[in-house]
Structures are given as C-alpha cells and as structure tokens.
C-alpha cells in the first residue's frame, strides 16, 4: 500500500499554462495598473476644474494679451495636443506618444523633452533611494531579528524603543535635524559644499574622485532615508521573527538537535524574512514620496526635487511625467518583490497565490 503523491502531473494545455504562468500574470497585472495610472493622471490633469491647460490659457491671456482662441492654441502646441481633437482623441494620441517613450516637452523650458529631463534626474534618486533602502532593509532585518531573539530583555527593549521613535519621526524632520545639528551647529560638514549631486569640479565618469564626490553629496539624503525607514523594518522583522519563533517547525528543529546557527538562518531567518519582501514594495513608494522634501531640503538635484521644481513652475507636462515614472517604479518594484517572494517561498511557486 504505497501512497502516491497526488498532484504535480501537469496536464494543462500550453495556452492555459501560459495564461496561468505566475510571472506572466504578475507582469500583465502590473502593465494594467500602469495603464490605469496613466489614464488617471491624464484625465486628472486635463479634466480637473481649473485644470492646468485652462490655467495656462488664462495666464497667456493675461500676460500676453491674447484672445482665448490664440492662447488656447498656443497652450495646445506647448502641451502637445491637437486643440481641435476631443479629450478622448487626445488621450489616445498621448498613449501613442508614451508608447514611443515620448512624454512631451517641458512647458517652461521650451524645446526640452520631459523624458530627457527625467533621465537626467532619475539616476541620482535611484542611486540614493536604492542604496538607502538596501542599507535600511538589511540593517533593519538584522536588528529586528536580534530584538526578537532577545525578546523582553534589555536588548529588545532598547532596539524596539529606538525603532519606534525612529519610525515615528518623518524623514524630512530628520533632514532638518541633521542640517541644524550637524551642519549648522556642530559644523561637522559644510552644508553648502554638499548641495547638488556631485562637485561640478570633478568631471562625471567612472573614476574615484567622481564616485567619492557623488557619495559625499548623497550621504546626507541616504542617511535621512535610512533613518526614515529603518524603524519600520526593525519592527516588522521583530514581529515576523517572533511569530516564526513560535512555529512548530522551529520547535521541532530544536528538538531534532539542530545547531543554533542552522535554526536561526535556515529555519527562522528565511521564513521570517518572507513577509518583509511584500513590504519592500510599499516602502519604495513611501521613500520615493519622501524624496520630494528630502531632496529639496538638501538641495539634491534628483527626481523629487525636479518634481517640486516643475510643480512650483506649474510645468504640467513635466509634473505628469515625473508622477508617472514614480508610479511605474513603484508598480514594477511591487512586481519584482512579488516575483522575488515567489522565488523564495515554494508555496507560492506552485499555487500561484499567497
């Protein structure tokens, strides 16, 4: 009476396999979300009462004494839409442009492509936010695990208390605190020298002085992002590890006489870290959101600072472009986190849902 394993004989036809493929499905879902966001942002900018086009038309009428029609046509040429077409038609033209990677031209600096502007600022933000997330994710997991292992001892109390405090304080408050205390009062560094993304004296390129300069300029924003996000990781990892420590398989691993190291890494650590990957995506969105103020505070010329600039200049095409890029980044990092999770958790790999 040998028992056979029920299940994994896959008899689905190829097209069904394709449709039910987890990676593909996640990807299509992400594309759909991006499309929805594009549509949302487009109509938001076009159809809101007092929408940017209207405002711009009014602005032109007031400043340059144009008639409504002239002003409208002028606005249309700058917003890159056909003034005679309906909003829906404009929408499809816009979609087509987007597919070709064309986000239109900046309104305030005529002739500059929004996409090239974004490409200029994006890498710095990606560099900053990316390294900050990596640092706080790894460090946070480590501290969280530590707190969970020493549950209800002073180690845990200190770590959890500090994590609560750190997670409570908004990242831009950290930025201001760093500036006031270390920059202005203690003069540990010269704030003025650290503005921008690198020292204009060092030519960009893959060489040590440039990298050092880039790091020097990024260190403050990175520190701020780390401070702003690490508390969450610590608390999440502590909670996750605590509940994993209570799992049967961990107890049984102990009863099996496994060495402590092995239990802590392969049994507790791996399982406790799993839920954090889902949080990673949310965190990316959060940190990117905060980058607007943090970059502004440190005068770091990244995407957030560009967004703020375009908003204060009422440069709607740039604004639209940046908002889109940020959302797409979040959607796809969501997807990546999902896929990463499914790589790490065999339960998802097979069934395709959590």
């Amino acid at each position: 009476m040998i028992q056979s394993l029920s299940g994994p004989v896959d008899t689905r036809p190829w097209w069904q396999k394709l449709v039910q493929n987890y990676t593909l499905r996640t990807f299509v879902q992400s594309l759909f979300t991006v499309w929805a966001v594009i549509t949302f942002v487009f109509f938001l900018i076009r159809l809101m009462p007092g929408n940017p086009v209207e405002i711009y038309v009014n602005y032109l009428m007031n400043t340059e004494n144009l008639t409504y029609q002239d002003a409208y046509n002028r606005a249309a040429s700058q917003f890159k839409f056909d003034p005679d077409a309906s909003v829906v038609q404009q929408y499809f033209v816009y979609l087509g442009q987007l597919l070709r990677g064309d986000m239109g031209e900046s309104i305030t600096s005529t002739g500059t492509k929004v996409s090239s502007q974004i490409l200029r600022y994006l890498p710095w933000t990606v560099f900053c936010v990316g390294s900050a997330l990596l640092i706080s994710f790894l460090l946070g997991m480590l501290l969280g695990m530590l707190a969970a292992y020493f549950r209800n001892t002073w180690v845990d109390n200190v770590i959890s208390f500090l994590a609560s405090i750190v997670s409570a304080v908004p990242d831009y408050i950290w930025a201001i605190l760093i500036l006031i205390i270390f920059g202005v009062q203690l003069k540990w560094f010269n704030v003025g020298d650290m503005r921008g993304t690198y020292d204009p004296a060092t030519p960009p390129g893959f060489n040590l002085p440039f990298i050092l300069s880039a790091l020097q300029h990024a260190i403050l924003p990175i520190t701020t992002y780390v401070l702003g996000s690490i508390g969450r990781w610590v608390l999440a990892m502590r909670g996750s590890t605590t509940s994993t420590l209570g799992e049967d398989y961990v107890n049984i691993a102990r009863a099996r006489g496994l060495k402590q190291n092995r239990i802590m890494t392969a049994y507790v650590g791996r399982n406790a870290a799993l839920p954090l990957f889902t949080l990673l995506a949310i965190s990316i969105g959060f940190v990117l959101g905060g980058s607007v103020i943090v970059e502004e505070a440190f005068v770091y010329k990244g995407l957030g600072s560009f967004l703020f600039w375009s908003i204060s200049q009422r440069d709607y095409t740039s604004m639209q472009g940046v908002l889109l890029i940020i959302t797409i980044a979040v959607v796809f990092s969501n997807m990546l986190a999902d896929l990463l999770y499914s790589r790490l958790d065999p339960r998802v790999r097979v069934t395709g849902d959590k």
Binding site: P8, N251, A255, G257, K259
Partner: protein
C-alpha cells in the same frame, strides 16, 4: 522485565504566571523499559506534555523544574538528563530521544525540501556520509508506506496531513533513537489515516525496537498501542499499570471514571456517566487528594491527606486511599457485561 532506558524519579515542574505558580507536573515517577510503549493518558492540563517536554529540555521559559531527576541509560552508561550540558543535550535530542509533536501540519520548514530536512538532522548529529543518510531515509520512508523518492524531493506543502505525519515518524527514527515520544500523534487526522499511522508505528517499533512514550487523551488509542498505561490527573500520576490493569482492573476512581465516560462501538447500549465537576485550578489545587472534589468515593480523609502513589500488586501503582471501594464498585458495574 527488560532493562530500564529512562527512569523518571519524582519530577516536579511549575509554570510561573502572573497569578502565581501553576503546578503543572508534580512528583512524577516511572520507568520506561527497552522496547515497550507506555501511554500517558489524561485530559488537557493534566501535565502529560509538560513532563515529556522536560526530558528534552524544551519547556517554555516560564516553566521551572523544581525537583527530581531523569536517569537515561544507553550502552550501560547512566546519566541524569537534568544535569546535561547544553552540547550533550543537543546531541541527546533526536539521537537518543525523538519527540513527535501533535499537529504535524506545521512540523516541517515550509521553504526546505524534505530531503534537506532529513540531511539537516543527520548533519547536526555528525552523520557526514550523505549517501548513507539518503539510503536510510529512503528505507524509512518505505517503511512508513510513502513513495520514497518523490516524498524526498517534495516541499512540505505538497504532502497531505497524513503523509506529513508519516514523514515525521520516519524522521523521528532516522538516528535510531532509544526513546520516541509521541504527543497526540493521530489527533486531527482522519480515522483511516489514523489507522495507517497506528499500523506503521507498530511495524516500526517491532523492527527498530525503540521505546515509546505515548501521550494521548484517547483511551481507545492507548488500549490499542500501549503495553503499560499511566493515568494523569491535575499534574499528578494517579495510576500506573499494564494495559490490562488499567482497562480491566483500574484502582483509581479517575481511571474508572474515564473508562465509564467513553462509549464503545462493539457494545449495544452502554451505561455511561461523566465525572462530575470540572478539572481543578492548578494554581490553587484542592487539598489532600486533588481528585476528591469530583470523586464518588471521597471521604473526609481524602480532603486532609494526600494519598501515596504505591504499588498495590506487582507493577500496578495507584494513589488512592480507598482502592478497595473502587474494586467493589467496579465489580458491581461490570457484572452486567
């Protein structure tokens, strides 16, 4: 009788809680012989799991062993488990004494293949020869009637509950332990799956010759599996004897009460009755015999003096002041059969 593997002597364990001390297990003594299966039966909170957790030092942090010793003998050498160093205890676990917990649903690390988990266990106890471990694993999986190769390559979630339980049994005997503790091994399993586990267990025990401590609230299972049975009530062992003793000649009113409260399939209409009252509060247990508030035979003495756990006939122990009344009552009750 054959040699004693595990000798439990006067072990007491308490849990510290905010209200005081829960006297979870008090003055537990018994000997486990080589190759026998001993059932610990009792209701929830009777302390049967607590005492067995203490053998492998797996008690929760709130628990404290307040007395007693557990002597373990292997190859003629006897040691007190409670005095083990950490390293010795780690090696003792699973290699000498494996514990199969209830609810195997979650017994395996969900992110590792079954094979990894067998290898992990072997590696932790110094078995370096991977091929040999795999060979033994395949053998054991076949013994528990699973498809060995496929089980080995599976992740835990790909196995059904019954399969996991059997895989865990195979893992339990991987290192050829002398003692296997089974904590409610069939609870939450279907009847037919439970039957398969029972068969597998019996076969494994006869092949490998380990001793079993069997923890259950299910009298029927004990009747089928055990050579000897110990009844536990409110943290104390109240009766210990052969399966025949406990099921046909119980000396303790609680054992008798339990037998009276379970229906039997093969009989026609049974005369059943519950034990009156509720299990006692273990922080503030009743004076004297802890069972006396629920006992139909209780007299003034029971309230005042704790009965001694003593041998009434060879191999049959009980802690009751008035065993002769129990014998009389049981004769009256079972005459009708």
């Amino acid at each position: 009788m054959s040699e004693v593997v595990l000798s439990v002597q006067d072990v007491s364990i308490v849990y510290r809680v905010s209200r005081g001390q829960v006297k979870a297990s008090q003055h537990i003594s018994f000997d486990l012989h080589k190759g026998e299966s001993l059932a610990l039966i009792g209701e929830s909170g009777s302390g049967k799991t607590t005492v067995s957790l203490s053998f492998i030092d797996m008690l929760p942090s709130a628990a404290k062993i307040t007395g007693g010793k557990v002597l373990y003998t292997r190859d003629g050498k006897t040691e007190n488990i409670f005095e083990f160093s950490e390293a010795r205890m780690r090696d003792f676990r699973w290699h000498d004494c494996a514990m199969v917990f209830q609810g195997a649903q979650n017994a395996f690390n969900p992110v590792l293949k079954i094979k990894e988990q067998f290898l992990d266990t072997a590696r932790a106890h110094g078995w370096r020869d991977k091929g040999k471990v795999i060979k033994r694993t395949l053998e054991l999986l076949r013994l528990v009637r699973l498809d060995p190769e496929r089980t080995l390559e599976s992740f835990p979630h790909e196995l059904s509950g019954g399969m996991k339980q059997r895989t865990l049994l195979a893992l339990g005997v991987l290192l050829d332990p002398q003692v296997v503790i089974l904590d409610e091994p069939t609870t939450a399993l279907d009847i037919l799956t439970q039957r398969a586990i029972i068969e597998v267990l019996k076969e494994m025990q006869s092949r490998l010759g380990f001793s079993i401590i069997f923890i259950s609230h299910d009298l029927a299972l004990a009747a089928e599996m055990a050579d000897r049975v110990a009844t536990m009530y409110a943290g104390e062992m109240v009766e210990l004897g052969s399966t025949q003793h406990i099921f046909y000649e119980p000396l303790h009113p609680y054992s008798l009460g339990l037998l009276q409260s379970v229906p039997r399939l093969s009989q026609d209409k049974d005369e059943l009755s519950s034990i009156k009252g509720n299990p006692p509060d273990l922080i503030d247990p009743p004076s004297g015999c802890k069972f006396h508030p629920r006992c139909p035979f209780a007299q003034e003495l029971c309230n005042q003096e704790e009965p001694v756990f003593k041998e009434h006939e060879p191999g049959h122990f009980a802690a009751c002041h008035f065993t002769e009344n129990v014998i009389e009552a049981r004769a009256n009750l079972w005459k009708k059969d």
